[in-house]
């Protein structure tokens, strides 16, 4: 049992990276645009197909596949922005209507993908090669190492961009007071566009990373969406440190359960942990910003 510990830690780290990417996307979109992006899973699936197409028709070099996934994700994010955010953002009852609109996009998009590519699953080429890294007794497979490294890199870049740049100040200002942001000259629509594209790119990266172990399929977005939502929720919508912490918690739970109890109990223990967290802190771990938004 103890012998499995390093393996658990490694897979927990990989899961942390992927869930973190997804949850932060959802969290940032909620806090800056006030929209729950239920089409995040759709972005995820589309990015998987984008990467697959690139691998089929362009080249199956790791950089190309990753780049194609990220790019498709960003384009899909922009598409969601154009369909769900742009026409609705100044209309009454925006929160519920945008939620439903993104759900509709997700329904429509998943079915369209199935129609275009068929229900058969596709697999992506190995992006990070096959040579595992050996540290003493611990063997870390290349895809896990790559997942942790690339997502840490991208997350770091995004966090840096959020805290240092003018655009980042823009987004944080918009998170907290949209009207006030307009009053200092911040264009709501342009900022929203960039937020959606960036979070879409994050989902695209997560998609390529997760497809190293799973497959690309039209409905592939559902599980990551539910998990990303739940991690974002558990971390407190709008709080980036909270989301990272929650991603870690959920990742550890999943890795530990899968190793020691069995794969079919993963969801149950995860929900148990999340319900526990939410009952203690109804607004999630870092759920402070949420109040300020209202």
């Amino acid at each position: 049992m103890i012998a499995d510990l390093p393996y658990v830690i490694v897979s927990a780290l990989a899961l942390w990276a992927i869930y973190g990417l997804l949850a932060i996307g959802i969290s940032i979109v909620w806090s800056s645009l006030g929209m729950i992006n239920m089409a995040h899973g759709f972005t995820f699936a589309v990015a998987g197909y984008g990467a697959w197409l690139a691998a089929q028709y362009v080249s199956d070099a790791g950089v190309v596949v990753l780049g194609a996934g990220i790019l498709t994700g960003a384009v899909s994010g922009a598409l969601i922005y154009a369909v769900a955010f742009l026409p609705l953002h100044d209309k009454p009852n925006f929160i519920v209507r945008s939620l439903i609109a993104t759900l509709a996009i997700s329904l429509l998009g998943t079915q369209a993908l199935q129609w275009l590519f068929g229900p058969r699953v596709k697999s992506l080429p190995r992006v990070f090669g096959n040579t595992p890294l050996e540290l003493g007794e611990i063997v870390i497979t290349a895809d896990k190492l790559g997942a942790v490294l690339s997502s840490t890199l991208l997350l770091g870049l995004v966090l840096l961009w959020m805290t240092r740049s003018r655009r980042g100040l823009e987004i944080r200002a918009m998170m907290q007071n949209p009207e006030g942001a307009a009053l200092v000259g911040i264009g709501l629509r342009r900022t929203a566009m960039s937020v959606m594209a960036v979070t879409g790119a994050l989902a695209g990266l997560a998609s390529v990373l997760l497809s190293q172990t799973f497959f690309v399929s039209p409905g592939a977005g559902l599980q990551p969406l539910v998990k990303g939502l739940i991690v974002a929720l558990c971390g407190g919508l709008g709080s980036i440190p909270g989301a990272l912490l929650a991603a870690g918690l959920v990742g550890i739970t999943e890795a530990a359960t899968a190793t020691w109890l069995g794969g079919q109990y993963v969801l149950m223990t995860q929900f148990g942990v999340i319900i526990g967290v939410l009952l203690i802190r109804p607004r999630g771990i870092g759920g402070l910003l949420d109040e300020t938004r209202e």
Binding site: D90, R166, A173, M175, Q176, N177, G180, L183, G185, T292
Partner: protein, 241 residues
């Protein structure tokens, strides 16, 4: 004659079926400091919000530094606000449009969002601290933790950071202790307007009297007082608002 910094012609505005402003005319020249007095619900804030493009709908023309920024906007409130702000308008709304999670310094930086102001934001920041000295010590404190008076100063300071020619200040003394309200107002009066102009909406007449270049009254969505110059002036000599 120079172009007025703000020229409002026949402005009507409202929310949904409700019409709040009725065919309103106002011309503001550089260097003017105008007081706008009126009771609650008579359209002071709506006038400011209409100039900033935040009302539900509006018609008529608003010229800011000679550029048309008004017109009918039924596509939705707030859609053009950032463009108007970049043309040189600063609105300090009622009840402080602040970002509770950002620090005072970040606030002031956010105020200098326009491209030119961003480059010289440190110099401007020092100017603001001269106007509102109490903020000096609070620069790295999150604004959500400040008191009402300090928040008001941050809100006003943020408005001043931008490169604005027209400053619209909505009820600077609202909800503050009388003494603090007076301090805030004194600070506003000290600001050197140079080529800009300032309109202060206020319910408390005594805070404005004798300290502004012009005093306008607002009643039921219409301007009274200085706005009446358009009418033959002979019979209104005895009337005060």
């Amino acid at each position: 004659m120079t172009t007025p910094v703000l020229d409002i012609r026949g402005l009507s505005a409202g929310y949904g079926p409700l019409r709040v402003l009725h065919d309103l005319d106002l011309t503001v020249h550089a260097g003017e400091r105008i007081g706008l007095v009126g009771l609650n619900g008579h359209g002071k804030s709506t006038l400011f919000r209409a100039v900033a493009g935040l009302t539900d709908w509006q018609s008529g023309s608003v010229l800011l530094n000679g550029v048309e920024v008004g017109g009918t906007r039924s596509q939705g409130p707030g859609r053009h606000t950032h463009e108007i702000v970049r043309r040189g308008l600063a609105l300090m709304p009622q009840g402080d449009a602040i970002f509770p999670g950002l620090t005072v310094r970040q606030h002031l930086d956010a105020g200098a969002y326009t491209r030119r102001a961003w480059r010289e934001r440190d110099r401007r920041c020092r100017d603001i601290l001269d106007i509102f000295p109490p903020l000096e010590k609070l620069l790295d404190v999150a604004v959500g933790k400040l008191s009402g008076g300090e928040r008001r100063m941050v809100s006003l300071g943020r408005g001043l950071m931008a490169d604005a020619t027209v400053l619209l200040v909505d009820e600077p003394s609202l909800g503050l202790a009388p003494k603090i309200g007076k301090t805030v107002m004194d600070a506003l009066m000290r600001i050197d307007l140079e080529s800009g102009a300032m309109i202060i909406a206020e319910q408390n007449l005594s805070l404005l009297e004798g300290r502004v270049t012009r005093l306008l009254g607002m009643h039921a969505g219409r301007l009274k007082g200085g706005g009446m110059t358009a009418l033959p002036g002979r019979h209104v000599t005895g009337v005060e608002l």
